[in-house]
Amino acid sequence: MRWPPEPGVRRSSKQASEFAMLDRVLQSGWLTIALSIAYACIMSVLAPGFASIENGTNVVVAMLPLMVVATGQTIVLISGGIDLSVTSVIALTSIAGAAVVTNDAGWLAGNSVATPVAVLAMLIVGAAVGFFNGGCVAWLRMPPFIVTLTTMIFASGLAVWLTQSKSISHLPTSFMLLGKQLWASGLVAIAVAVGVQTMLSRTRLGSSIRAIGNNPLTALASGVRVAPATVFAYVLSGICAAVAALLITGQLETGSPVQWENNLLDIVGATVIGGTSLYGGRGHVLWTLSGVLLLTLIDNSLNLLNLSHFTIMMAKGGVILLAALLDAWRHRRGNR
């Protein structure tokens, strides 16, 4: 992540007091990965069956879709916005894809091109919702959180209305392949993560998005095309949500209009836990990966300990709140 390479100058070690040490630990992007590993070590002792290959697989399976959608969220957060519509995009694209391929009178049921068309349809729907969000934020200057909230209600309402609140099942195996086969979903998640991080750190678009999140006025005065870059961030988030929907729909073997309805906080939370800032300008896909890992580990281990749904929710909420506090603290420090 360090770029460009330092010309032989190392960090000066003056005033290396304990506080500076603590400071650096809390500022570090690697904090969450370290925490995840420590947490996994503790839980492998405490929780029966935690340290098994089977459970490890479960953790990975649970992580992959969350990873994909949180990667999209990372882009939007870096641009200084937020996308609260992702869960509804997952639901909407899930039923859109399922409606195309389902063997229960789907549009292209049994057709050999059904699966590619369905996947394409999902991506287009996700991109369209993202385009709407981004357009409202960039061109109409509406506050991101309220725009994406409205989209969230609308998109989930649309999904429920279109299906009359019924799930769509009997999906062909080719369509469920990406979700069902661990290697396939893993490949997709890795491709998304690598692609997005490359975009963020190695292209003009990435530095534009980062600059907009850091200081939109500076970005504008430096010739960054602020509006298109902002729209693009939201479009990518929509597409990532659609890809996640593809994995989830495959895993669950149904397209449902309430798919992932209650996972919004996990998505934003995982991103923030990783260290991506709610104030914009700061973030990394690897950090998000570590946030997703920690959150999934907590969820999984507490489930193994047979704690109630509510307790798990409180625990996750607490961790997310802590992350938000840490983020606010970093931001205030930065502004001093």
């Binding site: 770029w3 460009p4 100058v9 490359t198 003009r204 500076t218 005065a221 010739g223």
Partner: protein, 511 residues
Amino acid sequence: MNSTLLEMTGIRKSFYGVDVLKDVELRMQAGQTLGLVGENGAGKSTLMNIIGGNLRADAGQMQLAGELYVPHTPRDAQRAGVAFIHQELNLFANLSIAENIFLTSFPRTKLRNIDYNDMHQRADALLEQVGLRLSPRLLVENLSAGERQLVEIAKALRLAPRLMILDEPTTSLTSRETAKLFELLVSLQSNGMGLLYISHALGDVKRLCDEVLVLRDGAVVGQGPMCDFEPNQLVSMMVGRESSDQFPPRHNHPSKVKQLDVQHVTQPGVVRDISFVLNGGEVLGISGLMGSGRTELARILFGLDPMKSGHITMCGEPIERLPTAGRIARGMAMLTESRREDGLCMQASIAENMSLVAEPKYARPPWGLLRKAALTSALHAMRNAVKLSASTEWHRPVQTLSGGNQQKVVLAKWLLNQPKVLILDEPTRGIDVGAKFEIYALIDRLASDGQSILIISSEIEELLGICDRILVMSQGEIKDELARNEFDQSRIMLAALQADHVAASLRDADQ
């Protein structure tokens, strides 16, 4: 009446190692109006902020009416009887006049609700005192700038202060409003209040003040009864600094190639009929007081603010319809007035900030992947060119750098794009002497290479030291133009100041 109201001795203050105030002595009587004059950056505001409790002096003592006076907060100052009326008014447009006056001390009835009758009566009395015949129920958003200024004074009068500091109170007022304000100030003064009056408008100072104190570079260069000073004498005291070896020698020879041609640029309420030509290899200065429209002009030229009519041509190509990004792509660059606001991404690293503008040149189609190696070597080269201190790491957030190094990062960011026309707005603000010299040298070198430079500055010597030609702006218009052989500090200062009176008389004619 002739008791000492405020006495300051040995006041010193420095920011980031730059001395802003050097052993300032100040003494004023009750019932007296003391005018405080000096160029931008002479230390006037710092001195006033120390009296008003916003800043604390590094050394020195203050006595208010014979007692030791050590304000820690603006509130302390208020309690001690010092009212500070800032140039930027702090009024809430969505509240009424009376509510603004009594915001932190509403009169209440027994039910703990606001006693509107009492409040409006008291507000009425205060408004009458400042000569404002308006209902105290009126929302502040409906008031003119002058009326708001008077409301701010009424707010200060609520606490019956002994000393009132006014910072440039007339900049946004019409001449009629100014006259009204002066009447008020004279009556306050005759009631025994001390007034500290800061202004660039020397005519106003002459008219209002009994005594005057001149600051230059943070030191007092003259204090005495107003009648002892002629305006021209004040001007030369304000600017009279020997410009010895602060500036590197200039070796440029402007060509006759029109790099930037500005014709009749007008934006209502901001600038009017601005026309000038910037030649290749030329360093053109724009002088003017704060609020003269110089920064606004630069933002219009750069496409950041709208323009109603006029033409801007760069290297033969009309650019007035292009957005900022388009102008940058064609070779324009602008170092903005405030690094924090729109100059830098303060939390981002040096490398990120430096590469922001020039990146499109290093993007490889079709995906826009950056040629990192090429960009990195360009960054290293540019870093040496602007002499960014070697000890600073690439990955440090720019907010941890000194002002001088921050400014070098901004310059480097623009120079990487190899601009043809470079607009610099206050390029040396908040920078120490050494870094200043390096920036001047850089400007000279760029001009020698044929780049055109438009430089805006509050410091006249700076313009005298590095420019080939200077335009003087006031009230959104160009008032004077000086070629290098006509350079004269007093003429520039007078053009910038006198214009106020011309405009004021024009406004009177309108009314």
